[in-house]
């Protein structure tokens, strides 16, 4: 039976906005617009600073996109503003591409923002939350959200209540099977669904060749909360003490919205370390070069918040990874087929040794790069979007049946 085309709204950050998950949203929206089942994409996104604006390709075969900047990181009124924007746009369904700190770094703003999905659902719209992390797996201390056990307990309690709220959405999609299992067990949830992260397509088969010049040790992301580069700089100092070819440390990306000024502080503290480069914000067109030039991609994480977009990009570009020994990350590696050298999260010597095992051994570098490339080819984000479209179609059909 032919299904009517869908007008889908997505609540998310999006480049040039620099909020977390913006890159995932960029690829998600890009492929969502290519789906024959979709007639329009409504981007309910965050307001940009003065002078910046959203820009999208427009060509035959792409669903039109309506951009509605209607929320602001840290604002207390995001939930109401987004609900109003949804009502005005009147889409067939709403997807939230979020994590726990998507709407603010303050506890109140973050929590209020996370009331949006149930508000939108109760306003009558089929609602799916793509939740990139779950409270049960976040190391709050490392994420900069708790300083003492009492505060941590309070935040965990609030996190549990917020999770219950989010579970009032029609579906909550999670990228890791273990997360599904946790929410099903702890919350007796019946509406959680596994939707793998998916690989960002359209990267050419990697050549594994590196540019002339120093071997680049690269890390990529938004730093300052659970992604801390100090251990990497310390490890880099150790690596430079050895008798190796010239090395360069490339710290690619920006501060986390929750850690303004963090990278500037690191640059000042380590001003005497040679061959270290901060790229600042990496625009989409520069991403291939940043990854392509890297000999190894390092994940200096102290905790994890889900399947890593950076890990998928590392695979896309056929690069080896150096990863922390954190249970969740190890599971991602095992379940998704990625490979890497591991280090102890608090030990620069362990990190230096892990990086050394990659950069000192071209065969190992190529082997891990190939493994990650093959893993990243497993399921494309385009395939994953098909699943979301099917879920929306099913939800809409169910609602239509229940109205009869």
């Amino acid at each position: 039976m032919p299904t009517p085309k869908l007008r889908l709204a997505i609540v998310t950050t999006h480049p040039p906005g620099k909020g977390s998950l913006n890159e995932y949203a960029f690829h998600f929206v890009r492929f969502l617009r290519q789906k024959a089942e979709v007639s329009e994409v409504i981007l309910l996104t965050d307001e940009l600073p003065p002078g910046e604006s959203y820009a999208f390709e427009d060509r035959p075969g792409l669903a039109p996109i309506l951009v509605v900047p209607c929320w602001k990181f840290g604002s207390m009124t995001n939930a109401l503003r987004i609900r109003s924007a949804v009502k005005r746009a009147n889409p067939d369904g709403v997807l939230f591409n979020i994590q726990f700190a998507s709407f603010g770094d303050g506890k109140i703003a973050a929590t209020l923002g996370l009331t949006t999905p149930p508000l939108v659902k109760f306003a009558g719209y089929p609602t799916i939350v793509l939740l990139h992390n779950i409270m049960e797996m976040v190391d709050l201390k490392s994420a900069g959200f708790a300083g003492n056990p009492v505060i941590e307990a309070v935040i965990r309690f609030i996190g549990t209540q917020v999770t219950r709220l989010l579970l009032n959405s029609d579906l909550v999609a999670l990228t890791i099977p273990k997360y599904v299992e946790i929410l099903e067990k702890k919350y007796k949830a019946q509406n959680v669904v596994l939707a793998p992260h998916g690989a960002f397509e359209e990267t050419p088969t990697p050549s594994f060749a590196l540019p002339a010049g120093p071997l680049q040790i690269m890390t990529f992301g938004k730093f300052g909360t659970y992604k801390k580069v100090e251990i990497l700089v310390e490890a880099f100092k150790l690596l430079q003490n050895g008798s190796r070819p010239p090395l360069e440390l490339v710290i690619a990306g920006t501060n986390s919205p929750n850690a303004q000024g963090y990278l500037e502080g690191v640059a000042e503290r380590y001003a005497d370390v040679p061959n270290m480069r901060f790229t600042g914000y990496v625009s989409e067109e520069d991403v291939p070069k940043v990854f392509g030039d890297a000999a190894v991609v390092v994940f200096p994480y102290t905790s994890t918040t889900g399947s890593s977009g950076v890990l998928h990009q590392t695979g896309d570009y056929g690069k080896p990874a150096v990863l922390p020994h954190i249970g969740d990350f190890a599971e991602v590696i095992a379940e998704e087929g990625y490979g890497g050298e591991f280090f102890e999260p608090d030990d620069p010597a362990s990190l230096a040794a892990a990086i050394g095992r990659v950069i000192d051994n071209p065969e190992r570098r190529r082997e891990l790069g190939t493994q990650n490339y093959v893993a990243s080819r497993g399921l494309s984000i385009s395939d994953v979007i098909d699943w979301y479209v099917l879920h929306f179609q099913t939800l809409i059909e169910q609602r239509a049946k229940s109205k009869k």
Binding site: P2, V193, L194, D383, D386, W387, L390, H391, T394
Partner: protein, 113 residues
Amino acid sequence: MKIHSRQERGAAVVELKGRFDAHEVPDVRKALEGAAALASGRVVVNLADVNFIDSSGLACLVQAMKHCRERKSDLYLCCLQQPVRIIFELTRLDKAFEIRASEAAAIEAVQQP
């Protein structure tokens, strides 16, 4: 993986045997495309002998179902083993696919207008 295709009462039945993962996707995709072309999009995939399916396998079936639906027909699944059924439930794709307990029931259902 072994793939066997046949025609049965106007439907194309594709039997798969073994692990259905990323390595098998190209061959299965080819078989499903051929089946859909032969039977005007009325396809039954018998998974009775599939003991494992990964996300690539699921994606392959989703693509095939989409192609069938574009032809105003459908793709039915039947005879899912428990480990395979669990994956469909985990991804909630069991709600999106038409799934029948037996091949006969799937063939009958796929004939319906």
